[in-house]
Amino acid sequence: MIMDIKHFSFTYAGASAPSLKNINLPIEENKVTALIGPSGCGKSTLLRSMNRIHDLYPGNKYEGEILLKNLETKKFENILEIKKENDFINLRQRVGMIFQKPTPFPMSIYDNIAYGLKLQGKKNKTELDEAVENALKGAALWNEVKDRLNADARGMSGGQQQRLCIARAVALKPEVLLFDEPTSALDPISTGAIEELIVELKEEVSIAIVTHNMQQASRISDFTAFMYLGDLIEYDKTETIFLNPKEKRTEDYITGKFG
């Protein structure tokens, strides 16, 4: 286990009722955990709590604990206690995030990856070159872009942009990667490439992925959590969730009776 979410509730700024209620969910180390559920069930909200990206907007309220394992000390630390800017930066480099729409920065392919590394304090040119190359290879993008590393990243195809964003996150050597519907804006071939990549990546990082696509969840995840209206209804091995769900609502959702 690398993350442990305990009695976690979340209320958006200005909302009267919490969007997430008493969530308990472990994120297992070097596994893929899928969050599924109908729109508005809170799965993205939960994912976005795990690197506290919500804090970009003031007034949101967290309750409970989200524990993240420190890989050096092997101790769990509550990320909801983070207050200092530096600790936030550290958290986000340890828990990376990939968004629904590809978000290449308005700079060259090389700089897109080097940017985060420079923030980490890496300045040595050869070291950077090497890290960029490794990250691009890790995202199965190196062969496609090695001749145009200085080209604007926004000129790439959508699927390539998304893999670049993954490379950018992977380059920082995070412990956890959060994917927020990473393939919903992509064509089937690019989707296949990203799914393959996610499965390969779990050798190095732990992954949590929000997806609308149940086939995707069953293809790539080891564990699945089904959420509904801000509650975590059921969490188990993906196989169990899809073949032998305990809850009626889980079964109804998976078999397409609602959602």
């Binding site: 700024a13 690197n51 990206i53 970009l56 907007y57 003031p58 007034g59 800017e85 930066i89 550290n90 986000r92 480099q93 990376g96 995030m97 968004f99 629904q100 729409k101 978000t103 920065f105 308005p106 700079m107 940017y115 985060g116 923030l119 980490q120 964003c165 950018r168 996150a169 920082l172």
Partner: protein, 269 residues
Amino acid sequence: MRLMINKIVLILSTLAAVIGIGFLFWILITLTIKGVSAINLHIFTADLVDNGLRNLLVGQFTLALMAVVIGVPIGMVAGIYLQEYSFGNKYAEFIRNLSDVMMSAPSIVIGTFVYAIVVNPVGHVNGWAGAIALAIMMIPIVVRTTDDMLGLVPRELREAGVAIGAPKYKVIFNIIIKAAKVGIMTGILLAFARIVGETAPLLFTSGNSEYFTMDLNNEFPSLTVAIYNLATMPDEKLVNLAWAGAFLLTLFVLIINLIGRFITKEKKQ
């Protein structure tokens, strides 16, 4: 009946368009004919004192450029504040509206204001006062463009920047501004085109000078004020000089506007 109304509306709107465009072309044609015939090499090499425009052209450009140097940083920082930092602040909307109102403030009022706060204390008209008046005209435009253009950058890009661990100010300056660069540049260019042809803010701030000078601490030459003065002179030679100046100024503003549009078009493709 419906067809009739349709026809009448069509005729009326065509007529209105023809009248509008007709006057525009009338102005442009008169300006071109009178302006071009008055242009010769002499006006580019001699100063106003020798019936040339050199000091005026350089002066106008210098004033506008100084206005950019003063106004663009202030306007951009204000725009960045409004779009990126004022989240949930109730005064922000007020500032935004105020800035929009400033955009349509009569330029003569701005000129008077600067006269009161700069020229009066110093005791005489000077180039800085002119540049400040132009800068004040420019700031609301730059605020608005920066605000709008940053607003067009998708939220996800900000989140992506934060998600790789960049502090907020770095996300804004390294990523968001870069993404909005073309729009902001175009806005600045159009703001420049707007102020480079202004007379009223300069009339009693920078005054006018017949001589070539780069000293902004004293009265400063500008084409627009000179056109205003020359156009009412009895000497036809001087009036022609005003025509030449007016033509050059129009041409210059037109070119800047076209460049601005060209950039915007390029960006859209």
